[in-house]
């Protein structure tokens, strides 16, 4: 009996550590080297000049509305940055192609349509701004 209780305590301690490790990685920016093109036109999305946050959501996702509000705000604060949402269940083909396993997942797509970074899980404001660093603004002299 005591042995079982001790095993349960140990298993739950490991589960807690695993959770805390996972929690710290939530929404962190992953840089993408071999950028793929996101079929924006096919998804009915108009890309912004510098970067677009393309958020995969589901109607049943608890944390998606908060992420939508945050990304809208961040996008408003930077010129040439936009935000668009894709229903991952309606567009399972896109979820498959970009390996979305959970929502929200956000692809950061540059003005030419290339996926330059991604975030899995709800990002913080700092994460969202850091993601924009992956797509620096283009300088025009004239």
């Amino acid at each position: 009996m005591l042995e079982r209780v001790l095993i349960i305590v140990a298993v739950l301690a490991v589960a807690s550590l695993a959770y805390l490790w996972w929690q710290r990685r939530q929404g962190k920016v992953t840089h993408i080297d071999d950028a793929e093109v996101f079929p924006a036109a096919g998804a009915g999305i108009e890309l912004a000049a510098r970067a677009t946050f393309i958020q995969f959501s589901t109607p049943t996702c608890a944390r998606c509305p908060g992420t939508r509000r945050l990304l809208h705000q961040v996008a408003d604060g930077f010129p040439g940055v936009g935000h668009a949402e894709v229903d991952a269940i309606e567009r399972l083909d896109l979820a498959d192609r970009f390996n979305v396993v959970r929502t929200p997942t956000i692809l950061v797509v540059d003005g030419a349509g290339y996926v330059r970074a991604r975030m899995s899980g709800p990002p913080s404001r700092e994460d969202a701004i850091a993601a924009l660093d992956e797509v620096p603004p283009v300088d025009y002299s004239i």
Binding site: R4, S16, T60, V100
Partner: protein, 145 residues
């Protein structure tokens, strides 16, 4: 059969705490007659949630009667569909534990019941719904077939 309604997340977490307690008792008792009866109870507690959603469970009725009146209104709500999926996973694990216990394979009993302990612990303590997190991945798997 299952309609998408909005739930108070605290109610879902309370339900997970109830599942956690029952699953803990089952694991501590082990695959004995008493332990198997507790495991059967655990499976039965999951059934309404797996069919209609967490709002239809005994745990939800307890929450509505004794706890909800003492709380302020929820600041946000969540869809019932992912936690319903999680209840189906919980039901499957409890049934696996029960079947292995009945045929005399303790390892299967402890794996099934242990999974319910871990998943409901993470939900009750941290608010992480394992079943909800893998919902999109699960839909993709089903669609791929």
């Amino acid at each position: 059969m299952a309609i998408d309604i909005q739930l108070d997340p605290r109610g879902v977490r309370f339900g997970a705490a109830v599942s956690l307690l029952v699953a803990l008792v089952a694991v501590v008792l082990g695959p004995t007659l008493a332990g198997l009866l507790v495991t059967a109870t655990l499976a039965l507690l999951f059934v309404p949630g797996a069919i209609w959603g967490p709002q239809s469970t005994v745990q939800a009725a307890l929450f509505k009667t004794f706890i909800r009146p003492r709380l302020s209104a929820p600041t946000e709500t969540e869809s019932s569909l992912p936690p319903r999926f999680a209840q189906q996973v919980g039901l499957a694990c409890a049934v696996v534990a029960l079947v292995f216990g009945l045929v005399g394979l303790p390892v299967g009993f402890f794996v099934g019941a242990g999974f319910v302990v871990v998943a409901s612990f993470l939900n009750a303590v941290f608010g992480l719904c394992l079943g909800c997190e893998v919902y999109v991945g699960f839909k993709r798997l089903v669609a791929a077939r």
